[in-house]
Each structure stands twice: as C-alpha cells, then as structure tokens.
C-alpha cells in the first residue's frame, strides 16, 4: 500500500522536481527557487506534517558545492520524503521553512553553523552548536578536524 502511495506521489511531483523512489522514501530533487513551493505542497496537499531534519552535504569538487537536504514524514500516510537542492559556495542561499514548520528554526541554525548555508527569511541564525566568535564552518571538507578555537587560554604548567 505504501508503494502505491509513493508511486502516486512521484507522479504528482514529476512536473516541478526530479522525483524518484529510493528505499521506500520519496526523493525530490528541486531547484533552489522551488523549495518553498514544493514544501508547501508536501505539507498542505499531501499531509507531510513532520519536518524531521534539515542538513547539508559538502561535495567540494562540484560547481554547486552543497546539497541541502530536508526530510519529511507524513504521520497519516506513514511515508517518508527527502527533498534536496544544490547551491554554490559563493551564494549558499535557500529559503527558510520556518513559516511552514516551527521545527525548522533550530535545524536551520545548525546547518548554518556547520556548513554556512544561509536561510533567507530566518532572522535568527545565531550559532547554536558552536559559540560566538567561532570562525569557519567545521563540517565543510576543507575545515581541519583538529583545528581548535579555544575560548579559554591554556595554562602553562600541568
């Protein structure tokens, strides 16, 4: 039954997105300007009432370096959806989903902290997992894992 739901979802979204089914979830690859429209359709028309996750993937070799990934879940139809879009390093801007889902707030802050993705329309992109004064975005592949930025100067003797 889930397969028929997924198949009909894939057909419905085929006009505005590259829609496919992967391991029991709907996959939608959209352009950055279609993000709000697709998310609104998912929520309003297809009952995807839970925004589970907002994250990004860094592919340094590609011209569109970052993949921003959203995960949705419909509690009524029991189906998962994943929406992705690709943005460039020079302008890592996507629209915010805080107007549709309150849970997007903290998750977008984390994505901004870790990757530097800017969510247009989200006024509160303060550091959440990192701290004020931290320079750089640690989950980018070019940030060295062990590059520490301590707030407290280290003691001399141990």
């Amino acid at each position: 039954m889930r397969d028929t739901v997924l198949a009909s979802l894939r057909d419905d979204f085929a006009d505005t997105a590259k829609a496919s089914i992967d391991r029991g979830a709907l996959l939608l690859a959209v352009d950055p300007q279609e993000v709000i429209a697709t998310a609104t359709r998912l929520r309003r028309d297809y009952g995807f009432d839970l925004l589970l996750d907002v994250t990004a993937v860094d592919w340094p070799g590609r011209p569109l370096r970052f993949d921003v990934v959203w995960h949705f879940y419909s509690t009524t139809q029991r189906v998962r959806a994943r929406m992705t879009t690709a943005v460039a390093e020079a302008s890592p801007d996507v629209a915010t989903l805080t107007g549709l889902y309150g849970s997007a707030g903290f998750m977008e802050r984390e994505c901004h902290d870790m990757y530097g993705i800017r969510f247009a329309g989200n006024a509160d992109l303060r550091p959440i997992l990192l701290y004020e004064g931290f320079v750089g975005h640690p989950l980018r592949k070019d940030y060295a894992k062990e590059h520490e930025q301590p707030l407290v100067p280290y003691r001399d003797e141990r």
Partner: protein, 179 residues
C-alpha cells in the same frame, strides 16, 4: 627545648609558600592540627557535580545504592560554588563550556579540589576535534583523575579515597600561613 635549627623545606607544587623556622613543639602542634583538620575535611566533602555527559549516569549510580558516596561523607552536593569544595567535572568539556567551568572553579573558595571524572575530563577521551577541550587540566589544576568511559562506580570510589588520602596529607593553614 628551643632548638632553632632553620628548616629549609622542599616545597611540592600547590602547597602554600615558605614557612619560617619554628620550634619542634610548634611543629608538633601544627602537624596534629593538620591531621585533625584533614580528617575533618576529608570526611565532609561537598562536591559540586559539574555534570555534562554520559559519566552522569555513573555519577548517579555512585551516589545511590549500592555504591553510595554517603559512606565517605561525600554525598551531599552543593550546587553553589561558594558552598562546595570538590569540583567534580563529570563528562566532556567543550570549548563552549570551558569559560563556564573556569568561572565556577574560580568562584569556589579555598580549600578546593578538582576531580576529573572520566576519560573526557581527563584528556578529552576519544574526541579530538574542533569542539572538545582535551582535558580540563588545560585550564585548571586537577587533583585526582578518574579514568574510565564511563568509570565504574568502584573506580570513582577509589578516586574519592585517593583524594581523601591527599586531603589528609595536605597542610591546612586556618589562622594564618603558619598555623
């Protein structure tokens, strides 16, 4: 007897500065006073559990049955730095948390001791990245390191007992630097 042989003590780190030469009777008095005060202090430790991560589970376990820090007098936590004397750093300290930890440490009054509870507080554990402070001894002096990830309650009790030995052996100046 008033033998005034000047004493040139070998000072260990952390012990208070130079003492002037005194008579043997006075030295006997201060030693006994130190032993008495040490005995009192080691059996009435008020920990400040600065709890952050997984070690909290073992801290909860060591505070309750059957391990019970109350047997050692170290059960009652005081969450005000002014009222506590043992800062137990339980769990990983990140760079974001470090200023807060240091502030709490500095607000504590003397005498105070620090226990690094767990591998993360001791040396950063197995986290070695941009976020984690690699051991609290980078920012404050530590008296006892309790290894484990998380340490078994018996290890924690062993740490408390070693700290008690240390407290017993310390000098405890009460009135002034000499006594």
């Amino acid at each position: 007897m008033s033998a005034t042989i000047p004493i040139t003590p070998v000072m260990a780190k952390g012990v208070h500065a130079t003492r002037p030469s005194r008579s043997a009777a006075f030295e006997y008095l201060t030693t006994k006073k130190d032993e008495l005060v040490g005995w009192g202090r080691k059996f009435s430790i008020f920990p400040y559990p600065f709890v952050t991560a997984c070690c909290a589970m073992e801290f909860m376990a060591v505070s309750s049955t059957p391990y019970d820090t109350d047997r050692f007098g170290a059960a009652l936590p005081r969450f005000s730095p002014r009222q506590s004397d043992l800062l137990m750093v339980v769990g990983t300290i990140t760079h974001k948390q470090a200023p807060i930890l240091l502030k709490v440490y500095e607000q504590m009054c003397e005498p105070k001791w620090v226990m690094a509870f767990g591998a993360c507080a001791t040396s950063g554990g197995f986290y070695q990245n941009y976020a984690t402070l690699l051991g609290i001894d980078r920012i404050m002096p530590v008296d006892v390191y309790v290894p484990g990830c998380p340490p078994r309650p018996e290890t924690v009790i062993d740490g408390i007992m070693q700290l008690q030995d240390r407290i017993a052996r310390q000098r405890h100046p009460i009135v002034n630097d000499a006594f």
